[in-house]
């Protein structure tokens, strides 16, 4: 009995101190007027839901919500789509298959700050390779301000984030494809199914549990993207790439109003939690009966 306590006490204490306490602190911080001075004076007057009211009535709130939704939806759709296409492609047998597949992992292993920096250089208006190439080919007449125009900034940041997420999607989906028995493909081919029909009626339904996991993890991950946006645009220009995450950061660490930052952070938790519930439910059903929900 003592041994059990000894082995488990450290992790339980750790979770309480480094997750329990901070989450509780974030919750109460959002109910107080918590400025930089509060850290020194210890005074943070209770203001009830005033921080939430301020956040919800701020025009930036709508912008950040919309940006978060677009950024997340577009990132997921393309990461998943491209990742799946690559996974299906790499199912073929050909020389260098293994080497090339592991090379594709590199973008995922790089620090996000580095990836963001590279894309900032690619998107550079004057000397970036993207504009220079497009101008050289005559596709565009004048340099596109990829990161400094309010219209282009969000799509550009999203492209960079898609690039970062492709390897992860590909690796997991590839693993899922390996789990589909080859006899099913052989049987389908015998029945005269072409490549598209085999994908549509064998691959897609059987891959559904894995797809659900990948999409959910991608969603939770994309909601918290911070590094890429900070390096590329810092949420600008004029909040064009401001998401809930970067907004929370700028309220807390830019304007030093930790109460407001915590309120936005708590909204973010709420959104993540809603999807987490879906994820865990999905995990349970897919774990209990893999593949049975496929078909339709």
């Amino acid at each position: 009995m003592l041994a059990r306590v000894g082995f488990l006490a450290p992790i339980v204490c750790y979770l309480a101190v480094f997750f329990g306490y901070p989450l509780a602190a974030n919750f109460t911080m959002a109910l107080r007027e918590y400025s930089a001075a509060s850290f020194y004076t210890g005074e943070a007057p209770f203001v009830g839901l005033a921080n939430y009211a301020a956040v919800l009535s701020d025009p930036v709130f709508g912008t950040a919500m919309a940006n978060t939704a677009v950024f997340t939806a577009a990132s997921l759709a393309f990461q998943f789509g491209i990742g799946l296409a690559l996974a299906v492609f790499f199912q073929r047998h050909f020389p260098l298959n293994g080497v090339l597949r592991s090379l594709l992992l590199i973008p995922w292993l790089l620090p996000l700050v580095v990836s963001g920096t590279v894309w900032r250089w690619i998107f550079d208006q004057e000397y970036g390779v993207l504009n220079q190439t497009l101008l050289g080919l005559g596709v565009i007449d004048s340099a596109v301000p990829w990161l400094s125009s309010t219209a282009m900034a969000l799509p550009s940041v999203t492209v960079a984030n898609i690039w970062v997420g492709i390897p992860f999607n590909m690796v997991i989906l590839y693993g899922g494809l390996q789990g589909i028995p080859t006899q099913l493909y052989e049987a389908a081919a015998l029945d005269g199914a072409g490549p598209w029909q085999r994908f549509r009626h064998v691959t897609w339904p059987l891959l559904r549990p894995v797809s659900a996991v990948v999409l959910m993890l991608g969603l939770v991950y994309t909601l918290k993207v911070f590094d890429v946006i900070m390096v590329l645009t810092q949420g600008g220009p004029a909040n064009a790439t401001q998401t809930l995450t970067t907004w929370s950061y700028s309220l807390s660490f830019g304007e030093l109003d930790f109460g407001l930052g915590a309120a936005v952070g708590n909204l973010l938790i709420l959104i993540a939690l809603v999807f987490a519930v879906f994820y865990l439910r999905g995990l349970r059903t897919s774990g209990a009966a893999p593949g049975t929900k496929g078909g339709r």
């Binding site: 979770l15 992992l105 590199i106 292993l109 620090p111 920096t117 220079q132 390096v231 929370s248």
Partner: protein
């Protein structure tokens, strides 16, 4: 028929090379820029190859980012040590003991990984401020461990659960305690899972930007991720220096991919499926 088939696989390999080349182009572009002279980067059309390259960028990178690189090393090593110290006993207990609340604990470990980093940064800033730990290695190591520990416990527990219980029981009949069983029976068998956990703890800490930028008031413990970020802000023209720093900061990832590829693969899938 055989010839036809060989042509087709060759064609597939070529297609694969083109696809992978396209996806990795940004990395090539980073390496290319890191070897260009500063003026070479401001030319139209761009210099596609680093011929007649220079190490100016790397000189600049080492000069300005030497300390941040060392800081990253210290923080990442500290995070690995703390993560293993916390997660190994926990994983052992969760895989061996039938305790009440074990399910709740596992669920909590799964759930806390979904807490957005900015929320953690916001509240950890308050915690570190109160304890006077702001701008110390300890603050960064503790903060980074919040990303690594839940992942490590889950991946180690999943592995340890596959070790037959009889292995430990035999030792316990001979009078060994749980500590002894963990140390001399379970740990040696769990080497691969430990490497995977350690490797990801290292990568998480090495790549961390959010905690580094929020929990640091001065530059004494600033890691290289923040170094690059400040570097772009301060010298927008010196892209070769920025890119050289980026290349150096990517070295751990590249090295790990080469020497520990199968552990990386195990971590990617382990991270997704969690068990």
């Amino acid at each position: 028929m055989a010839v036809h088939r060989r042509v087709r696989t060759a064609f597939t390999t070529v297609a694969a090379l083109v696809i992978v080349g396209g996806l990795l182009f940004p990395l090539y572009w980073m390496v290319n820029a890191s070897f260009q002279p500063a003026t070479g980067l401001l030319e139209t059309p761009p210099r596609w190859f680093p011929v007649g390259g220079t190490l100016d960028g790397y000189r600049q990178a080492v000069e300005s980012q030497g300390r941040p690189l060392l800081n990253s090393m210290i923080v990442a090593a500290g995070t690995v040590a703390l993560t293993l110290a916390l997660s190994v006993p926990a994983a052992y207990a969760l895989s061996r003991f039938r305790v009440r609340g074990a399910g709740v604990l596992l669920f909590a470990l799964l759930l806390v990984q979904m807490v957005p980093g900015i929320v953690m940064a916001n509240s950890l800033y308050a915690v570190m401020n109160q304890t006077g730990l702001l701008s110390t290695y300890a603050a960064l190591i503790l903060a980074d461990s919040t990303v690594a520990v839940p992942f490590a416990v889950l991946i180690l527990r999943a592995f340890m659960a596959t070790i037959p219980a009889e292995l430990g029981e035999a030792a316990m009949v001979d009078g060994a305690g749980h500590g002894r069983v963990l140390w001399s029976v379970v740990l040696p068998v769990s080497r691969n899972a430990m490497i995977t956990a350690a490797l990801f703890a290292f990568l998480f800490a090495w790549a961390d930007f959010l905690f580094a930028v929020t929990l640091n008031a001065d530059d004494s413990v600033m890691p290289v991720t923040v170094g690059i970020y400040r570097f772009i802000g301060a010298h927008t023209a010196d892209w070769n220096g920025v890119m050289a720093t980026g290349v150096i900061a990517s070295v751990p990832a590249a090295v790990l991919l080469v020497v520990a590829q199968r552990y990386v693969a195990a971590g990617v899938t382990g991270g997704a499926l969690k068990d």
